[in-house]
Symmetry: C2
Subunit: 255 residues, 2 copies
């Protein structure tokens, strides 16, 4: 397939690099010409542009991978055609295309991407939705070129997946950033925490997260909780307090 | 060494099981006789008791591994002797023994334990403190029987380590429990989230947590944030709101 990449951010970069071996990336658009050129170079694509008017009309597939709140305006600004149009967002409903394209859908890779880190797409669960059966099948075929884990998911399911991913990954990562701040004050490298984090994750293959919960809040150890709170200030204090209350509520409320 | 285990919870169980191959566990005390008996059986120990008066006076080493806020009262209730006394808490200062024992210290395994899950102690960082050089050396030797990662850490450093561990592990795990709740409403098994979580953790070997932060809050995607908040209620809503604000503050405040 001749693919037009609209967007050159983290998700677009990983998708385009993976697809480039089996498909032809004919164009990369980004509001930043430097980003468009970098991704075009990385995928053997001859054309990078920062002009929305310069986006080609003759691709077979358009992959819109821009900031969620820019997707609707990109769809509206570009003329429709008979190609397949997808976006890659976990949060934007497929209906953003309704009435504006004939064949459209969603290709949501449930993963947290950084440009600097190589991700093996083969392990990334891909959630697919199409406006009709034929389009869903085309997008599913493409998804299988990216990953061996392909599921169909409507817009509501996808939104819940995305929320779960924000909790599981973005928020968990922020807790690690706060832990890093706490450790830095004691001159301990964050890497000392990695064995603990890894084994906490590995427990999840055997127990549900609720079953494997441990720590002062789980065992109602108020003396430790108070001592910790007295040593924390600012955001660390607020987050410690909120999560402690939430753990106590989940595990010690009789419902 | 002849070791008396005071406590039969998660940490005590893992320590005693590991030490049993090189040392003699002479007694296990727990307020729950059933727990004391179970750990005694697992370590080839002949004596389990739930009576504090029944704790032997002739061990070489006493390992106090009880709820943090019970440590001081255990130390006070038991008669002192010339053995080495340690507790295993990240939060209780070594001074809990001061004036009450001659040789004492701390042996803190920085790990999150569940009785059901086997942990390879060899990978668990052990943080050691002793009341004097000779005692610190004895405890360090014992720590090396448990792990290849042994560090010395005073009480303040250990407290910060413990706080960082609460953030990194207990709180992160609770986020996974909240994600599990969100997914269950959409009939998606939590296991679908594990590849994402694993790769989020693996990024930390290459980037600091702050550098690898992604997600709607990191990119100030207020439309997604509002949509997510509108779909959440109760604790999920509170936690989403608190962590989103904390991420925005950390990454988008000019200081």
């Amino acid at each position: 397939m001749r693919i037009s990449m609209i967007g050159a951010g983290n998700v677009a970069t990983h998708i385009a690099r993976t697809l480039a071996s089996r498909h032809e990336i004919v164009q990369v658009f980004s509001r930043s010409l430097a980003n468009a050129e970098a991704l075009a170079r990385a995928t053997g694509c001859p054309c990078a542009t920062d002009s929305i008017a310069g986006i080609t009309a003759d691709a077979d597939l358009y992959i819109i991978s821009v900031k969620d709140d820019a997707i609707a305006s990109v769809v509206e600004q570009l003329p429709g055609n008979d190609a397949v149009w997808v976006h890659t967002s976990g949060s934007v409903p497929m209906s953003v295309f309704a009435g504006l394209r004939r064949s459209y859908g969603v290709l949501y890779p449930m993963q947290s991407f950084s440009k600097q880190i190589d991700v093996d797409f083969a392990d990334v669960p891909m959630f697919v939705e199409g406006c009709d059966k034929a389009t869903a099948e085309q997008i599913t075929t493409l998804a299988h070129d990216l990953s061996r884990s392909v599921f169909s998911a409507d817009s509501d399911t996808r939104r819940r997946l995305h929320i779960a991913a924000v909790f599981s990954c973005n928020f968990a990562n922020h807790l690690w950033a706060l832990a890093d701040d706490v450790l830095r004050e004691a001159n301990i490298p964050f890497s000392a925490m990695l064995p603990l984090i890894r084994s906490t994750v590995e427990k999840l293959s055997q127990l549900s997260p609720a079953e494997s919960q441990t720590g002062p809040a789980r065992r109602l150890d108020y003396e430790v909780i108070q001592k910790h709170l007295s040593m924390l200030s600012g955001d660390c204090h607020t987050v410690y307090d909120t999560l402690t209350k939430s753990i106590i509520k989940k595990h010690h409320t009789i419902s």
